[in-house]
Amino acid sequence: MSTGQTPKQIGSLSFGLMDPEEYREMSATKVITADTYDDDGFPIDMGLMDPRLGVIDPGLECKTCGKHSGSCNGHFGHIELAAPVIHVGFQKLIRRLLRGTCRECSRLLLTEEEADEFRDRLDKTRSLGEDLGDVTKAAIRRARKASNCPHCGETQYDIQHEKPTTYYEVQDVLSAEYSERIAAAMEGRPVGDEEEGEVDREPMGPMELAEETGIDSSRIQEILSSEFRPTEEDRESLEQALDVDLTEEDMNKLMASDIRDWFEDIPDRDIETLGIDADKSRPEWIILTVLPVPPVTARPSITLDNGQRSEDDLTHKLVDIIRINQRFMENREAGAPQLIIEDLWELLQYHVTTFMDNEISGTPPARHRSGRPLKTLSQRLKGKEGRFRGSLSGKRVNFSARTVISPDPTLSLNEVGVPDRVASEMTQTMNVNARNLQDARRYVANGPETHPGANYVRRPDGRRLKVTEKNCEELAEKVDPGWEVSRHLIDGDVVIFNRQPSLHRMSIMAHEVVVMPYKTFRLNTVVCPPYNADFDGDEMNMHALQNEEARAEARVLMRVQEQILSPRFGENIIGAIQDHISGMYLLTHDNPQFNETQALDLLRATSVEGLPEPDGTDDDGIDYWTGRSVFSELLPDDLNMEFEGTLGEPVVIEDGQLVEGTIAEDEVGEFGGEIVDTVTKVYGNTRSRVFINEVATLAMRSIMHFGISVGIDDESVDSEAEDRIQEAIDSAYERVQELIETYETGELESLPGRTTDETLEMKVMQTLGRARDSAGDIADERLDEDNPAVVMARSGARASMLNLTQMSACVGQQAVRGERINRGYEDRTLSHYKKNDLSADAHGFVESSYRQGLNPQEFFFHAMGGREGLVDTAVRTSKSGYLQRRLINALSELESQYDGTVRDTSDTVVQFEFGEDGTSTTQVAHDEENPIEVEDIAARVMNAEFADEAERESFLKGDTLQTNLSEHQDTWRTGGAVPEVESDD
């Protein structure tokens, strides 16, 4: 990094409120004028574009720090607000503090014991690392219950909050019509909203009343004629005597200044009971008296083409604030009426509110002249395009490319084919030295357009020059050690390759570049499974790495061959797919014989150099090699395996020779192919990469040798089989008919826990399912072993026997929501059927095979079932994608520590040993037959480590050989007293 600063470590972060004094201290200037630039286009002093707030025009010097635009981050200014204003971000906290503290003495409305209890609870939750909000909310809830202050005894009133920034105290005050009410009550009439006869009152004379209440009778007369307002005490005694309510609710608005005074008196100790650190955040700081003005660098103005300046939204908002602020001050000094002052105060509050957040409910958003709502502070941060999600977690990067992908089986799985036009756009930096000088000069001489060329050079003095077609020859001669050359990507460079959605770590892997013509990225088909890629138009991204550390890390950790084993299940995720598997099956299943030319042709793209001894000679005396021995050439020489293969038959490999068995999906396939998995674990990733590449090329050669093609007519069966299939289906129909008849006569016995209707449905489904299976079995008998579709299904390359059944015998029952098709018209599925027809074909049983073709009703039912499948996958992917995203976000902070535990960011233990056994899924493998024997492993390591028994013994005994022996060792030891060792740390 070239910032010229030493890197520093962040020790801690704390969040809190900011002291207004601090705003003033850090301010570069006070802002008092709403204007920005004067007529000559210079920024006005103490205006919103004051040059002390930072520089945005290149070439100018910052008046505060002296730096130029780009290196000066800008400096805050401040506006002295004419009156305190509420900060919208703290509406809820203000409400809670008002409700929880005394209106008179500002103390928390809790007794000492209660406060202690909450402080204890706070300490406990803090140490458990849980949410403090629950405790503080509970404290406020308790405090709110107090009707009188436990400290000064003052009556407390309810606080009402009118969003966003108005707070009222709800008080009971003497009603304006008190005299009428008293008069009415004295005459025994209903008072106020009372219904006739609701309250039973005796009429009472003034003398009587005076006696009862102890108020002077002349005073009572005065009260009745509204000449005198009764005092609080008088009111209460009057109310009691007359059984009447003389009060009405009054909303007493709390001004921001009142709230500030109120908060100022809250003692620090009480603040702490509410979980707030009083040293860092005093509650009165919530009420703003001074407003920080963001530096101009945060709100740059742009000059339009016509020379007009256009200001940032924030600047517009600040202009509004300063204008109102000014007007407020002028009006106050001129002694304007309270009403006008209050209006201006509210307006100032509105502008400050919208300056911080312009999307507050209940407040009309401040708009630009064009009617577009302004983008103020909170809008800059929030949401997908906001600062966090849009600019920090994710951003656009340089040195990246994206294009369509296509397959290239000649590439290694580690490679990626990069189009030349991409390679010559994305560069790698070469530090020129004596060893690579020639290369560097050649790249520069080639210029930016010929492929292994260069786009830029940097001279030792730091000056960056563009290489052009014109200057490239000349520049090439000047290149010397110490220069930097930005050369094109060439074969062998490491790049990162990615396909979205990046759901697991194998979605981003490092590949080696192979520069190629045309416009697509090329990749070997065996890396399709980890990326989940296909070639129906998929696009992928490539990133060129920009420093040596990144390149080394990518090569060592991220290369495709390092990802062959999946951390999810500890077996290989990369392996032969589709045609590779068909090819291997054809090559090894019937163990065909090849003459020398054919055998060599099969192995020509592999690293096998010569054929082994022939397996025999045919009738004509010509040598032949079998498919299995051709395949065996790819295996490591000392590989021994025996397991049950794809076809359920044993696969035996002895000393690297396939002795018995067919190679197919379970042997070399993508998810846990036994041989690939073993080769990777026993012989390492590099050997495994070679093996997979060669299996793929051998399989391609083999499938080309035999040839494979499928048409629908390959799945036809002879008429005898067709008759038998028809018979099977007919007999199923009969059985279904019998079931329906027993159901209709009410003789059907229901299965436990089911109604008879459900039982019938189940039994019908079962019968028809069996019918399809037996039809399939009949067809299966008739399809040859070498039928291409059978080969694909048996080998596990693609499709299943069920698909074949559907093609050649019977498509079977269509289902929606796991049931036969029951929807459509009233009491029937289609108008082709009678009402309440329970038969198979009326409920979506497709008797035809795909080859025969479906009749219209069958086609319709099939479409119903098919659509359900489509909807399901669409819904499932979106649902599970979101679920996975949430899971990953929740778990992403977990980290396994050096002591073997898994902990989260607050150091809480999640697992005491990673995965309970502390091992990596990809590094350790075991099964029933090969358990992990720690002793054996230790012995093996020891044997490999030590040449003989004696050396081993001495190591185990803990004898340490002395190192760094000097010939003069003894002389310095005896040469004098050993000097005292002084610590020099």
């Binding site: 690392g129 150091d907 309970e916």
Partner: protein, 75 residues
């Protein structure tokens, strides 16, 4: 009522003595509150466990045969 803690699928929960606990905390260099938690009201918690106690849970594991986990009892 079924006593869930006696069910065969519920692993053994036992209260850890203070000296044992000190060893555990020392081994991992953690505070008691850094341990995973378990609610006092959890049916598997033994009756004599109190809030603040630490339980040792020994359960069968698919990766190791026996996995030992410690949990702090809360509320």
């Amino acid at each position: 009522m079924v006593d869930v803690s006696q069910h065969e699928l519920v692993p053994e929960h036992s209260v850890v003595s203070d000296s044992e606990l000190d060893d555990v905390l020392d081994e991992y260099d953690i505070e008691r509150t850094d341990l995973p938690k378990i609610k006092r009201t959890d049916a598997a918690v033994p009756d004599d466990a109190e809030v603040g106690d630490v339980l040792e849970i020994v359960r069968d594991s698919r990766t190791t045969d026996r996995a030992v986990v410690y949990r702090l009892v809360i509320q």
